[in-house]
Symmetry: C2
Subunit: 486 residues, 2 copies
């Protein structure tokens, strides 16, 4: 039998190059603090350093890998730096990287149970484990009426929840007949932009999204929600969906889930709880009060890819009534029919999400949970919260600064008392320095700096340094007369 | 400075465990033909072999890795086996696995240009390279009015295209006001189920999706499309979107893109071309005729994660007019505002997709293109097509079998002349044997076997063996009296 000509990487080459890549990653993480956190390149700079045309002939792997160092790193904003305090984190960790590597190596596509039973069953199991780890209500377990699934992001989870709500509220006719501008959705004015995007995508229209007023802590006012629902009802509209946020992106505000849940139950609305960032804190019993009332929710999502050391993408999404979700998202063509599906004894996760295909994403999550154990995860989450609380104390003790919002967990919203221009200049100087990276929001209509302590490797020394750098730059700005600086 | 207590994997541990995982993957690929392609486990079997509760304490990595062998492999359907002929392939390759590993190691989240310029610019560049490699029309280049982006799947690409079409057809009011049941979409009766799903998600309603009749080759009849559009117009509806498929999932049928494109142009419909599987063939000039007329398309998608040796997920999606796509999908909250975005000089890919966050997925694609070179990719695609054509000849020369559809590329649809029960029994016996995995569809209302030659490592000897096994099982069935078997 003749050997066929092949351009594939041989097993031996894969071993050799694979070890080199593993070592490169280990080295990268060891020296990561030596890079400016925020990439300093200008638009177009990365592209300009690369060939305009694709290669006709194969290139040696060593040359490809060298370009990571030469071309990619200068254009990288280092999300895995312990000096990353921007947005919310997007954490990697050793076990997650290796779990994901195995997923790539196995290369299974888990759209149906039959296309890799382990891909589906491990995911279902790990999401049941998390119900226990986070003390979520029983109805979210796959062994009850519900079940969990891994989505790419909280945006997709919210969209799936909204679609199920839309179908339920229309007696399962919206998929068939289309939307008619009568359905209304609710979230606080501080809810994530993905809710607005979901309402647009799902055909409800953002004119039919009510952004409910918040209180002085930036949490939704349930009485206003109730009034708004009544007023929409009276106008002949159909309130169908509400999103409560546990830990808003802007300021980590926590909507009162129980009260919102009661309102939704009484009025037949689907309640989705978005705890994308802060849900991880529920690993620790002392933080679980923030989502009291969760048994009133129809769906819930949090992102291990933010704070739980699990590489992007990994959003965990649970529903209390999986039948409604599946009925909403299932389309079964002949070429996907198979005996296991027909038996009804299995989950086909393609019916729980927007895309058809799916990766074996539970491996990385399983690896993280087993590598750290519940104890290890709790330790690091508690430590991040402690460090953020310490930072908040420093801010509040410095007369030049003020806290702009409560600090329930690990996000500190603060500002210099000098006004918008000073805060903008302060942020720009800090970010340009490369020593740390933080971002902003607007609260009480003022530019507010966000400092989120949640990166995998952030320790006390990094937070101390960050506070020192903030003080230094504030001083430098004061020396320059503040407003003109930056 | 005290060392903080830590449960994280150290750099040295990461090197050690990482090398072990790389070696495990290399071993796995070397022995992959020794496993039954389709996992033989029963529903619940994988879960039952795992602990019901999560671990409180950390576990050693070696124990976690051992479970891949012990628990995961028996429940795995081996998509990377050269004996995998089911569905369409979902290929891995050495360079793709390692590119994706680097993506995990870097751990950047590329929602905005600023959150990692290299992540955005490399993606834009590689998608421009592909325009050249596949000879796609100029309008899809980022340097012209269009541009490309990596989506997770062709389902999401189709949804994004439909949303942009919806907005364009309503003068950009559907996002704001919601859908009103007047918009109509079109695809052939053989189009992928994701089109139906997209029409449901986007609020058009599947009553407003016209599944246009196909010809004897299972390709859309353009005259019927034109009539249907006119009839919907006359009924006061608004035709807004058509999907032409280049290589349907069921039988690899090729819709006449040019004719459909002319109809869409004349009548103002958005034309999306779904070439998820077969688009890869356009790497070879001799196959490009299948998508003649593509310059009339508003958007185009194909999946390197199917046939182009790039690990899932990787769907490449281009639009001719990026402004419309961005206007459709952009929602900009304060906390994402930044100078680069405000300058208008950069792409923020969050505005090109449903989710907000995104992985550095272009790395694996870049690695594949450079590792193989255009020449290497062409070689393997041509070889797969040759092998499929050879298989089709064997089928047509065996009196017991017949071809059920034309074989333009690498999918052979065929059946035993003995009827549905024989074909079902034949497929079940083959799949149960573990020697190969193939799936079915229905054509001319008969069960039809699909044999897709496209797995990375499939060579002549595998296809020969498969045909031999098919003949053996057909003989065994005949000996048993056909219908009663299986």
């Amino acid at each position: 039998m003749r050997e066929e000509k092949s351009f594939h990487m041989t097993a031996d080459e894969f071993r050799r190059h694979g070890h080199a890549v593993i070592d490169w990653i280990a080295d990268y993480h060891e020296r990561i603090e030596s890079y400016p956190v925020l990439s300093p390149v200008e638009p177009g700079e990365v592209r300009a350093s690369l060939p305009a045309h694709p290669p006709s002939q194969a290139e040696p792997f060593s040359r490809i890998l060298a370009d990571i160092e030469k071309v990619v790193l200068p254009g990288t904003t280092h999300w895995q730096s312990p000096n990353f305090y921007a947005f919310f984190p997007c954490n990697a960790s050793g076990p997650a990287i290796l779990g994901d590597l195995l997923s790539s190596g196995l290369g299974v596509q888990g759209m149906l149970w039959a296309t890799s039973p382990a891909c589906t069953e491990l995911e279902t199991l790990v999401l049941d484990w998390l119900v226990e780890m986070l003390d979520l209500p029983e109805q979210f377990r796959s062994t009850q009426s519900g079940g969990g699934v891994i989505q790419d992001t909280a945006s997709s989870a919210a969209l799936c929840a909204l679609l199920a709500a839309r179908e339920r509220a229309t007696n399962f006719t919206s998929n068939r007949q289309g939307c008619d501008r009568k359905l209304v959705a609710y979230a606080s004015s501080q809810a994530h932009s993905s809710i607005e995007k979901a309402v647009q995508i799902a055909g409800l229209g953002r004119d039919n999204l009510r952004l409910v007023e918040v209180d002085e802590k930036f949490a939704m006012r349930p009485a206003v929600l109730a009034d708004q629902i009544e007023s929409d009802r009276r106008a002949g509209r159909i309130p169908c969906f509400a999103c409560a946020t546990v830990g808003t992106t802007s300021s980590n505000a926590i909507d009162p889930v129980r009260r919102i849940g009661q309102i939704c139950r009484e009025r037949g609305l689907w309640l989705h709880v978005d705890a994308a960032m802060s849900g991880t804190a529920a690993l620790c019993p002392e933080f679980r009060h923030m989502q009291d009332g969760l048994e009133l929710a129809d769906s819930y999502a949090f992102n291990p890819h933010k704070w739980m050391f699990t590489n992007f993408d990994c959003d965990c999404f649970w529903v209390a009534d999986r039948a409604t979700l599946i009925k909403t998202l299932s389309v079964l063509p002949e070429y996907l029919k198979n005996k296991a599906t027909a038996s009804g004894a299995v989950f086909d996760y393609r019916d729980w999400q927007i895309p058809l295909g799916r990766r074996f994403r539970s491996l990385k999550l399983w690896f993280v949970i087993r590598h750290y154990g519940i104890e290890g995860l709790q330790h690091h989450i508690r430590r991040h919260v402690e460090l953020a609380q310490q930072f908040a104390r420093w801010v509040s003790q410095d007369g030049r600064f003020e806290l702009a919002a409560p600090v329930p967990l690990n996000l500190v919203c603060f500002r210099h008392r000098g006004g918008d221009q000073v805060n903008q200049a302060l942020m720009d100087r800090l970010n340009r320095s490369g020593d740390l990276y933080l971002t902003h929001t607007r609260l009480q209509d003022q530019i507010t700096l966000r400092f989120c302590v949640g990166q995998t490797h952030t320790e006390a020394r990094h937070v101390r340094q960050a506070w020192q750098r903030i003080q230094e730059e504030a001083e430098a700005l004061a020396g320059q007369g503040g407003e003109r600086a930056g």
